[in-house]
Point group: C2
Chain length 436, copies 2
């Protein structure tokens, strides 16, 4: 096709599951993309570490190179899909310094070095796009940055890791243990051989930091995200939850905490297994799907749902960013500046107020319930429901106590006192409850 | 606050439920918005038809004026929230001609005159923003225009009218008739005294035309949207649907129809009551909420959910657009060009292939089922399930037949033949089924 402009040279760094799909779509949809952009997008090369690695798809071999620096220097736009911090960070800096806009799906890089890279882009009048870094194909970055730019976001709550959602979903639907569900996820390719980044919540924590920084216009270092993974979630916890009308989900929760008692307004960001009422839209998010729930002052409740991972799905988000970057390249003009003007302090998880479900193994004697209830009352934690079940032969009773809203601080004190209470054999489980 | 730039003058046309909220938020959040934009947004005036009308909120009376033209001429950005075609269309043209970007929530205007207004804006290097025209606070326009710009959308299916969703939801949960549920909606302020635009599907058809034009990069005149309202939906239909595992929703459905039999690739756009399986995410959209489901080739299935109407909710979308327009005003550069390069033909509803549920009243004699089944078979419409129930004293039996995928053309022929079949007393209901 003839266009008014000369082709835009696009460099691709990385040829993994997302990179190979991006390359395929750039080649297969060349005509259609040229019509949308108004100029051809010419894939000038694909930088890889090793030319001999086996690749997905049938990409033309002449595109591959190990010389990422030369490729970057000769391109107008750079797509970084290598993952990890180095050399991705150096290459992104090099690309921005050369005047290229950069598109990345690298959540670890954005969570760890976002402010540095955004500053650099702003100084140079370049742009950094990262829609694909959170929620795969789901448009969530752009809505937060742009659509809600005139609103005040109070809470973002999301299922942002498909691997853990798949595992928890299998545990719920089959009664499997964590270990068995993990193995199934690994067999199906949903979990990696070393699943730590997913099951310990590191991946979700990176995404939580990115979402919080956009939602609250503040810098959110990933180290300040409170993080609990799902490795300790038991089949019994999930069954108990279901019996009381809840699903267990690994949620990334970013919220604005109002000023109180001399503590300034701030934000708290946390990732942990959470009980969600079955009728909440997030509870219906099954398998490896992702969803992000947003509460804003004017807009009210919004939810964004879709495939949170996968090569072609993530490639869709990368190409959306690429079309935007290409239009900007042709016409000039501003991109998306990520203002951190609000600069709210990050509060510790102890500043959070939420509900809890506490499961205790107690001796089955008269007065135990009163004794346990007193512990909660002593710390002004109000109890909403108590369920009592025999825990099996000779082992007393199992109490499942759901609280009204209480602070982490007070709940910590309750749990410490319960542990030293003579009638309490064990505190089996403490899990937060959201979405009520 | 001190900013590097002089204030940006913002004109507001209309002070109804959305306009009064936009004005309130512009005044209340002046400081915060100035920080986000980098310049103050100064509300220079609010054009109304009658200065003496009673208004919501306590907006400063000096802002009101009846001289919309003078207000437009003296402003940098114009927000049109009057609704209707004229004088809104003339004012939008005047604003664009004066060099102002325009933000509108006017779906009727965009559906009827979008192409003309987009052309004008493009000629003048101005921009027209309309996130608030579909789905209230839900970011759906921007994701379709930008996030999916590198993907190929195959289908958009949405609950885009809160009034009809509320009515259908009440009919389902209380067994009420359409008339009773409509009266309840009117009492609660969800439906207008003259509910025609909502219940006959005109509002949804405007939104469907807008969504289809963005999804398929083609001009979609609203007159070519096939439209059936919900006034003929009966309590019995809803009960029958529920018994077979479906919810009844008024859906706007925009889909790409592949080329076949000499018919070129095209798109079909339709609004009608539809059965959706209860486990489909759209079935769980309750009350006056909206949701839009998108299927794209690479991204897969996405869903966007939130408040589809309401003054503050829609104001959130208007302010998001306003912040974007204000940044563009400061920095210059391109906005969102809505390409219609694909220019796919709009096909009649007869080109659509979907499933159907047909409810028949038949004489309760041996051989009737065979006779009815033969009618379907004669037109190559494959039957998936048949449910037979006594229809009440002396009145034969009620057959509920759900088909596999069939074309509208073939189904029309089946219904015509059923009507002339001696064993069929009446064809009570024909309703399309989606989401399987």
């Amino acid at each position: 096709m003839q266009t008014a402009y000369r082709p835009i040279r696009v460099a691709l760094l990385g040829a993994g599951s997302v990179g190979s799909q991006v390359a395929r779509l750039l080649i297969e949809n060349k005509e259609e993309l040229a019509q949308r952009v108004g100029a051809e997008l010419e894939l000038t090369g694909i930088a890889v570490r090793n030319l001999d690695s086996k690749r997905e798809g049938n990409l033309p071999s002449h595109l591959f190179t190990t010389d990422a620096e030369a490729l970057i220097e000769s391109s107008d736009l750079v797509i970084e899909l290598m993952g990890g911090i180095e050399p991705a960070r150096s290459y992104v800096r090099m690309a921005l310094n050369s005047g290229a806009d950069v598109i990345t799906a690298n959540k670890a890089l954005i969570a760890a070095h976002g402010p540095e890279l955004f500053d650099l882009a702003e100084q140079l009048g370049a742009q950094l796009y990262f829609e694909a870094a959170v929620g795969g194909a789901i448009p969530i970055i752009r809505p937060l940055r742009e659509s809600l730019a005139g609103d005040k976001v109070n809470k973002v709550m999301g299922i942002v890791n498909g691997t853990t959602n798949f595992i928890l979903d299998r545990m719920e639907s089959t009664g499997a243990s964590f270990e068995d569900a993990l193995r199934e996820a690994q067999d199906l390719g949903y979990a990696e051989a070393d699943p730590t980044a997913d099951v310990e919540g590191f991946d979700a924590a990176s995404k939580a930091a990115i979402l919080a920084s956009l939602a609250f216009h503040s810098e959110v270092p990933v180290e300040q995200v409170y993080r609990e993974g799902i490795t300790k979630v038991t089949a019994l916890q999930i069954e108990t939850a279901r019996e009381s009308g809840y699903a267990v989900k690994l949620l990334a929760i970013c919220e604005r905490i109002p000023a109180s008692d001399g503590q300034p307004e701030g934000i708290a960001v946390r990732v942990h297994p959470t009980l969600i009422p079955e009728e909440h839209p997030l509870a219906a998010v099954r398998g490896a799907y992702n969803a992000v729930f947003v509460e804003a002052e004017s807009a009210g409740q919004l939810m964004f749902y879709g495939a949170g991972a996968g090569g072609t799905q993530t490639a869709s988000a990368v190409l959306g960013d690429l079309v935007g970057a290409a239009k900007r390249h042709l016409a000039g003009g501003p991109g998306l500046a990520d203002s951190v003007h609000a600069n709210l302090p990050i509060l510790p998880v102890q500043a959070v107020t939420t509900r809890y479900q506490v499961t205790l193994r107690v001796t089955d004697l008269p007065g135990v319930l009163a004794s346990v209830a007193t512990v909660f009352a002593n710390h002004e934690v109000s109890v909403e429901t108590v369920d009592q079940n025999p825990a099996g032969k000779d082992s007393g009773a199992l109490l499942t106590i759901t609280t009204h809203e209480a602070s982490e601080r007070d709940l910590d004190s309750v749990v410490a006192d319960l542990r030293s209470n003579a009638a309490v054999q064990n505190v089996d489980s403490v899990i937060r409850v959201e979405g009520i």
